[in-house]
């Protein structure tokens, strides 16, 4: 299926289309492959998760992944939020990019689920997006963005675990 | 005939296409023929209406427009259980018009 010209094309597009990125390291310069393709080979370092994929299939390989793209073909399909959190919970440190039908009003939740870069299918208004990222002054629940939930702040503990 | 209805974006009020703008009264609805989709698309894009859709209608003995389906007749009138809140609060016939 690979077509060199459009491959180069899509590579260029991909880099350009990352509209928001919350990390300093270099961007991966090759396109992401499917989960199936990724698990079956050893040299790719970028993988793309579709809604029906099981993010846990990637867990044995986290060490060699630099970029995971999570595709949202339609913003109403929320499986990608679980996929992202599962990867972060398992200790994945690389780039986690939301791509596809990524809209203003989903940004704050995506960020909380561990996404640190965003490549919306349609470019977003910068001001609206800035406001959206800053929606929550505090947060009610623990996620994977490192923010201490309100109930932890109330009781002056650093993490939510109680052991009892 | 085919008439076009929808809701006013800001107020949510039920509205009917009268040929040049949106009316609260079903009596004003005009036959849109084959133009429903294009009018709906334009008006929705202009944000004058939300969820527009075309329906079948007839005219009753008095020549008043009458939507073919009971749901649209109730939309045209208002809740049958609160005559005071309908568009025809003083009309004792309003309830039977719906059925």
């Amino acid at each position: 299926m690979a077509e060199p010209i459009s491959g180069t094309d899509s590579e260029a597009r991909e880099l350009d289309d990352v509209q928001f990125r919350f990390r300093e390291d270099e961007m991966v310069d090759h396109p992401a492959v499917t989960v199936d393709a990724f698990v079956g080979q050893t040299n790719a370092s970028a993988v793309r998760i579709e809604p029906g994929d099981d993010a846990r299939d990637l867990l044995p390989h986290l060490g060699r992944i630099a970029l995971v793209e999570v595709n949202f073909p339609s913003f109403g399909d929320g499986r990608g939020y679980s996929a992202a959190r599962i990867l972060r919970e398992a200790g994945y440190q690389g780039e986690l990019r939301a791509v596809g039908d990524v809209l203003i009003d989903q940004l704050s939740h995506m960020r909380r689920c561990g996404f640190d870069s965003f490549a919306p299918g349609v470019r977003l208004d910068e001001e609206d997006a800035a406001r959206a990222f800053a929606t929550w002054p505090e947060v009610y629940q623990a996620a994977v963005d490192g923010r201490a939930p309100i109930w932890t702040l109330r009781h002056g503990e650093r993490n939510g675990d109680t052991n009892g | 005939m085919k008439i076009l209805t929808g809701s006013d974006l800001k107020s949510g009020a039920v509205v009917w296409w009268d040929g040049s703008s949106w009316s609260l009264h079903v009596e004003d609805a005009c036959d849109v023929g084959e133009d429903a989709a294009s009018i709906a698309a334009r008006e929705e894009a202009e944000r004058r209406v939300v969820v527009p859709y075309a329906i079948e209608a007839t005219t009753d003995a008095q020549g008043r427009v009458r939507p073919a389906h009971i749901k649209d007749r109730i939309r045209a009138l208002g809740p049958t259980v609160r005559a005071d809140l309908t568009l025809r609060p003083a009309d004792p016939e309003a309830g039977t018009w719906v059925i």
């Binding site: 929320g78 609206d128 109330r154 009781h155 993490n159 | 749901k71 939309r75 049958t80 259980v81 059925i99």
Partner: protein, 544 residues
Amino acid sequence: MYQYDRYDQQMVDARVAEFRDQVRRRLDGKLTEDQFKPLRLMNGLYLQLHAYMLRVAVPYGTLNSTQMHMLGTIADKYDRGYGHFTTRQNIQYNWIKLEDAPDILAELSTVEMHAIQTSGNCIRNISADHFAGAAADEVADPRPYAELMRQWSSFHPEFSYLPRKFKIAVIASETDRAAMRLHDIGIRIHKNDAGELGAAFYVGGGMGRTPMISHLVREWVPLDRLITYAEACLRVYNRYGRRDNKYKARIKILLHEIGAEDYAAQVDAEYQQLLDQGVEPPFAELQRIRTFFADPPFVEGLSDGVDQSDPAFAAWVQQNTHLHRVHGYTSATISLKPVGGIPGDATAAQIHLMADLAKEFSFDECRVTHAQNIVLPHVEQRRLYELWQRLDTAGLATANLDNIGDIIACPGLDYCSLANARAIPLAQKISQRFSDNGKDAVIGELKLKISGCINACGHHHAGHIGVLGVDRKGRENYQLLLGGSEGADTSLGKITGPGFDEDGVVDAIEKTTEVYLAQRQDGERFLDTYRRIGMEPFKEALYG
């Protein structure tokens, strides 16, 4: 009652600001209706038959008088002077303007209220036993757990785009007064032999077009693992619930397809994994919340007993009061089902009055019940007569709780764009008929529930008698169901046979009650008789 601290207030304020911005972007054309719809739904705003409709959350059904007054004020200021209390203990306004919605939410936020997650494919407002904190048979007040879950589920980053809506109910007694088994998750707080409290999780109940009773997936979740376990339940659903067909997207279908055991095993695996993630709140938080639900200052040493020499009052006491766990007190239910009235509707004036009464008679507290009535949970028995007189003057003393006149009805085709048939006029005719013929009281407990379409907002599957509105060649038509129940003995009703038109179904219901009256044995409720004799005698009478 729970009170916001600055964090809770900040969060609700942030939501108001966010929604104001979303409305602005919608009106500016930056959001299409398709994009805006899920956002407005997550703030309780529907587009209905006649206008926008706003559903305001009443977490676990509990309100203080200030909040209740605000509900009345909103009815007057932004709506047409009334509101509709729903089976999920919320209130709906039918005539809201989109432009006003952010201001309404801002006003609500001044009294610690909101419309957050009262619709949309997210975790909805959490309901609870309406006699919580008052019922003699509870092992604990279920509301602290509901409040903890309210916080956890609010703006949950992972679970805001679930396959479908998600409803949770919490109870803490054997008797289920919250239709717990018909929720996506039902939680029953109970005590083990050592006297400790834990939570039983029932998953996969629901009504709608495929009604199902939930499965017990875990008998005992320690209270300091409640959130972790709930998170696991939701994650499995978010990942594997069906998204290809919205009618098969509720969690009940997932459990039905993979089996409750398989689901429980997957939840367990997820739970084990989540235990290391620190998602559980500190136990101190649960304790903090509990202090808000401590007993009000009950007068001690009161004795039980009410002078019932006034027969109208006596009828109301017998019908509309519920055993309180403190001597000398009772829980009084204000029926929003006047004979011939609209079930669940209350005018602004009535709402204000009920707020005043909550303040004067019930330690500033009232409750919304899933049967669309209002409860004053802690009334001194010696002041009951005075309360009743006040209610009676305002037309709010109908003594028909749990009787055939205490009908649950959804808005139906008078207000709802999904409806096939009207539900309210039917309820009005039925309550009028059984009041006129004097049979309401003779029949005793009979829960009648009407939905205007298969979505079952009126709980028709769970009615001793249920009525479902259908569209028959463009005419309203009604199917009759018998034998449903939503208590501890939850069961789903069965359809009697061909449907009826509006007058026909009222007659059919009367015939059904005649069969019951002829066949009942000592003390049997309609439901008991039905269960003993089965469907046949009723069919015979209806179609024979």
